[in-house]
């Protein structure tokens, strides 16, 4: 523990080992994030995203927020990136460069990204200017603390968010079912024949569940 932290007035110019590590990991994360959006290879972008998200998890760990760190890995690296890769492989994932991966909006996108980054940094710095985390003491982001905080002080926003997610879930189901109903409605008698054809088709060719959807679209 350094002198500044011991005196209760931590300063910017007396970095401890953890703070240096935090900065270095931050630079690496930022680098990975930049590569994610600049690389010409689609799947490489997804894999660099894994590095960036993993770097974020390490940052959480260094700030003693263990629970958030593991949830970050579980949700983002374990599920969202897998979903991304699944989508890429299902549609278009060439080895090598994708010349059409560039967007004409790149400068506008850069402007928006810079503006939102500036806004976020400003808000966070302004809100937590006087807050210090004691990195050497007991973990302040343990599961226990996070759980108590979430379900004692922030229960209402938490529940509101779950209702929002539920709405998104229901919306997704409605959107994906809409096609089926309209085809059945317009075709009427042909529906059963189609269903029978689909059954035999899936029986012969059990490749993917998505075959159903594509056949439905064609019919």
């Amino acid at each position: 523990m350094n002198l500044a932290a011991a005196a209760g007035h931590p300063g910017f110019l007396s970095p401890t080992g953890v703070e240096i590590a935090f900065l270095l990991v931050g630079v690496a994360t930022l680098g990975a994030a930049v590569v994610t959006v600049t690389t010409k290879q689609l799947v490489h972008a997804a894999l660099w995203l894994v590095v960036a998200l993993g770097g974020l998890a390490v940052e959480y760990l260094l700030l003693t927020a263990e629970f958030i760190a593991w949830v970050q890995v579980l949700i983002y690296v374990g599920s969202i990136v897998v979903l991304l890769l699944f989508g890429l492989m299902l549609t278009r994932a060439p080895i090598g460069r994708s010349p059409d991966a560039d967007s004409g909006n790149r400068w506008v996108a850069l402007g928006v990204a810079a503006a939102s980054a500036a806004a976020l940094v400003w808000v966070v710095v302004d809100a937590f200017r006087a807050t210090w985390i004691d990195l050497d003491g007991p973990a302040q982001g343990s599961t226990d603390v996070t759980g108590a905080f979430l379900f004692r002080h922030w229960v209402l926003p938490f529940e509101a968010l779950s209702v929002l997610l539920l709405a998104a879930l229901v919306g997704a189901i409605v959107l994906s079912r809409k096609n089926t109903e309209s085809t059945q409605g317009t075709q009427g008698t042909q529906g059963t024949k189609d269903a029978a054809a689909r059954r035999t088709a899936t029986g012969d060719d059990p490749a993917t569940g998505d075959d159903d959807a594509t056949r439905e679209d064609k019919s």
Partner: protein, 322 residues
């Protein structure tokens, strides 16, 4: 200095277990499968019942030429086996084998989350392999892996959440400390869901659609040879060890046993894990491969509702006890 030595020793032990246990499971699989199918299995290598067969296999793999297909994405192709294997090593560090802090590599406060999060990374390895091989069969295998992972991650998480609710903690050692024998019938549905979903996540038969050799050669691993292929095989067996260890710790009480829990707790853990590993092998020999639609159906219409029912049951009993 003593602390450093202590940590180093623990990590060394975990590493040795990581190298040995998968081989033991692999050799057991050879023999168990052979006997269930009325044949002998490997008998010559090493003398006694072919115990050195896997060592011989390892030597064979090491001698093979390491080939990277010309059209493949070299770096991702070469990185994939490591991404598939290393997460299981990390998971093994936090699984407690006995009572107290002395019998676990490293106590992690959010143990369940750590374990499930890191296991999820392992599947990225087969996705990377499937894509980077520049082979249509590999890509299909990768796609199937991803679809399977997306479907089975949820029931696994829900089942684990049920135990965490019952114990009131997400730490693996904490769960074992809180364990009572009647949790066994109480959490049995969750245990089954967890085990089945774990099998699916490991892509073991009957959930081996992603590597179905009669359809897509060997899925994501088609283009791999030599040591890199061996690493993928090793990660599968390490996955079995980890899954059995986790199921033991979460649902079967780990080091708790009818007697001798103080001194011989680790024997109970190993025994339970070994029985589960036997079941994994048994399932491979017994059940035919599930079709993709059956796979998805099992996850979404059977396992998830069962896991949710288990959570509801856990909640009701927990409230009733309190």
């Amino acid at each position: 200095m003593n602390d450093v030595l202590d940590v180093a020793l623990r990590l060394l032990i975990v590493f040795v277990v990581f190298l040995v246990a998968p081989l033991v499971v692999g050799q057991t699989e050879h023999k168990v499968m052979a006997h269930m199918q009325g044949r002998l299995g490997p008998m010559y290598a090493g003398g006694f019942h072919g115990w050195a067969q896997l060592v011989a296999d390892g030597v064979k793999f090491a001698q093979k030429e390491d080939i990277v297909p010309a059209a493949a994405d070299r770096r991702v192709f070469q990185l994939a086996p490591a991404v598939a294997l290393l997460p299981y090593l990390l998971v093994l560090v936090v699984i407690p084998v006995g009572p107290g802090d002395g019998a676990v590599g490293q106590v992690v406060d959010a143990g369940i989350f750590f374990v499930l999060a890191v296991m999820g990374i392992g599947v990225l390895g087969s996705l990377m392999a499937g894509w980077a091989s520049a082979n249509k069969y590999s890509l299909l295998g990768g796609l199937r892996s991803a679809a399977q992972l997306l479907a089975y991650e949820l029931p696994m998480l829900l089942a684990a959440a049920s135990v965490a609710m019952a114990a009131g903690t997400v730490s693996l050692t904490g769960i074992l400390d809180a364990f009572e024998w009647w949790w066994l019938p109480w959490q049995i549905i969750g245990a089954l869901v967890f085990f089945v979903a774990g099998l699916a996540e490991l892509q073991r038969p009957p959930f081996d659609m992603p590597v179905a050799d009669s359809e897509i050669i060997f899925g994501a691993y088609t283009e791999y040879t030599g040591l890199r292929f061996a690493l993928f095989l090793l990660s599968e067996y390490a996955g079995i060890v980890v899954l059995c260890g986790l199921t033991t710790v979460l649902f079967l009480g780990g080091w708790h046993g009818p007697f001798g829990a103080d001194g011989l707790g680790w024997v109970w853990t190993l025994l339970k894990a070994a029985v589960l590993a036997f079941v994994v092998i048994w399932l491979r020999v017994t059940y035919p491969r599930l079709r993709e639609d059956q796979l998805q159906k099992l996850a979404w219409t059977t396992l998830i509702p069962l896991a949710l029912a288990q959570i509801a049951l856990t909640g009701i009993v927990k409230v009733a006890i309190n």
